[in-house]
Symmetry: C2
DNA sequence: TTTGTTGCAAAACGTTTGCAGCCTC
DNA sequence: GAGGCTGCAAACGTTTTGCAACAAA
């Protein structure tokens, strides 16, 4: 499902309101087309759009609950997020030493995961992370 | 590889030192045999062992780099960690609405992921996360 | 003896809280 | 209209920084 539709569905189901701030924040994240952090939203988005830092915090929370945005377990001082819709198109491999992250595709594993059926759980999305050491760090 | 061996290998390779604090912190995490947060370490570990909060922060960082501990992308106000060795034995499914996390096994997918070979990247570990809605939240 | 490590305390910083006013619905 | 939502500012609490003393190798 598209991110915008997800937002509309979530707001409707939870009797929450459609605001300009929510829309503009989601649109910003969509056009970013990349990983981002709170800093990205505070420095690049909040300063150039009509929205307060508080609404950024609160609406990021909402996007996470609605499954529109995912958090990534990447090393480093910042928590990294990504649009769920975008994150679903690839997996991540991470160097624990330097924190470098690469995206890669794995059609087989993704397909296998999608076929899962859980009792008492509606699957929406699945994500794969591979940890290891990149060649740069290995050569040191 | 066992966590203790990982620590020794990492310290040796990086010419770092073997200290009582590092050992006791790792032993604490091993015997915990569960997810944990900074709070767990600060309140339950640091107060009952000879170690300062600063060393907890700094050594958690070290454990992450050494691939001894992993961070999880779970919703909520706390960042959740787990011993890598323990996390490798299961996958996680997460309810985005209430934040509930369940561990589950998926031998097939895990095996498939282990068979990956990357150019310029030495894989150490792989992790699967499934997002969705649990039955409790669905029924509301 | 060298140099990484620890622990302390102060400082800095990001995040939360409470509330008044605004805007959806 | 009712109640969610925003934005402000103050309060809060965690994390970082700098440094001196200590300890591993």
């Amino acid at each position: 499902m598209k991110s915008i539709e997800k937002l509309e569905k979530y707001l409707k189901e939870h009797e929450l309101r459609h605001t300009l701030e929510r829309t503009s924040m989601l649109e910003y994240i969509i056009q970013l087309d990349n990983h981002f952090s709170i800093n990205t939203l505070m420095n690049d988005f909040a300063t150039t759009h009509h929205i307060s830092k508080m609404s950024v915090y609160r609406n990021l929370e909402l996007f996470l609950k609605a499954g529109i945005v995912v958090m990534h377990p990447f090393p480093g001082d910042e928590i990294i997020y990504e649009l769920m819709e975008r994150a679903e198109t690839h997996s991540h491999r991470i160097c624990t030493l330097c924190g470098a992250v690469k995206e890669f595709h794995d059609a087989k594993a993704t397909k296998l995961l999608r076929s899962h059926r859980f009792k008492g759980f509606t699957m929406k999305s699945n994500h794969i992370y591979i940890y290891g050491i990149c060649s740069k760090c290995r050569d040191k």
